[in-house]
Symmetry: C2
Subunit: 191 residues, 2 copies
């Protein structure tokens, strides 16, 4: 089951723009993050959820999409995420290890995939602008934005060897290819 979720949980960047996600659903996903391990149980992370079109449109303008797809500026208006979860941390109570944010983000995304959604973790953010848009109090700093929606693209994993190009790409059918280094090469003591 986990294997299926892990494989299905790709970074999706095109969505069915008419498939809305309720605030309640977003809160249930944040609850997964809330219940995850946290370094020294510090729980430095806080969350801002958005499922409203106007706010989503504003958030969208602060995000950088798919660095390797140089001829693609991001999803068209009809294919944009229908929800966002912004992860911030308290500047006065920071994570003791940087692992916390990934633990939270992955828990949210696996939860989203389980109920038929999917998304993308975005770190390329105009943070000052987003702080203003979301009215985030000064004590917090932005770490990540998770874009969520009903995926409208096919993403496949291609096995590669260490040293091959790791740049993702789209083929003529608009299938998104993600090269992943084979297991033998990522485990230092595989043999």
């Amino acid at each position: 089951m986990m294997k299926e979720l892990i494989v299905k949980n790709r970074s999706y960047r095109r969505f069915y723009g008419d498939k809305k996600i309720t605030k309640e659903t977003l809160l249930s996903l944040v609850d997964y993050a809330r219940l995850t391990p946290s370094g020294a149980n510090r729980q430095a992370l806080k969350y801002i959820v958005s499922s409203e079109s106007a706010v989503n449109s504003a958030i969208y303008t602060t995000l950088g999409w798919a660095g390797y797809l140089s001829d693609w500026d991001g999803p068209s208006e009809q294919e944009r995420p229908t929800a966002y979860i912004t992860i911030v941390q308290d500047k006065n109570n920071k994570m003791v290890t940087a692992a916390d944010q990934g633990i939270a983000a992955q828990s949210i995304l696996l939860g989203a995939v389980e109920i038929g959604f999917g998304g993308c973790i975005i770190a390329n953010i105009k943070k000052e602008e987003l702080l203003t848009i979301l009215n985030i109090p000064e004590q917090y700093e932005i770490l990540l934005v998770i874009a969520i929606g009903k995926p409208k693209e096919v993403v496949v994993i291609d096995e590669i060897h260490m040293g091959d190009s790791i740049k993702y790409w789209r083929d003529e059918e608009q299938v998104h290819h993600v090269p992943k280094i084979r297991l033998e090469d990522v485990v230092l003591n595989y043999k």
Copy 2:
């Protein structure tokens, strides 16, 4: 299902020392980490797995356990983890966001919980010593160690309000309590 896994995936620190984990199982868990999203798909993380008693004993000596339990030095010899996965990154090809390590660790642990194991992410590591023990090439630096085994303790979540003590503790029955801040307080725009 994810909710159940998320709740069951606590930080476990006492294990059935006779419940071994095979190298094949560890490799299948690393495979989950390998297939997760990675910032700019950089795949900077590499893994060293250990399920052999002698190596496990050596790894154990490099780890710091449960900072808040000041009168507890870590699990007794009979209750130690029966496997470890050490996560390193290539110093010449670092993560573009620190989220990668948490994404990988959480994927490994959720996978472990699904098959009846559990573990703990440890960042308090004598890294120089562990580099030597595991013969890790100089190009890598240690980020995290994930201890894994068959959990031999009960861990419960206690809901707290923001500002309450977040220190985990053990009661007289040796039940491990983890205070987690309620959802209303971790979502900045809950209302």
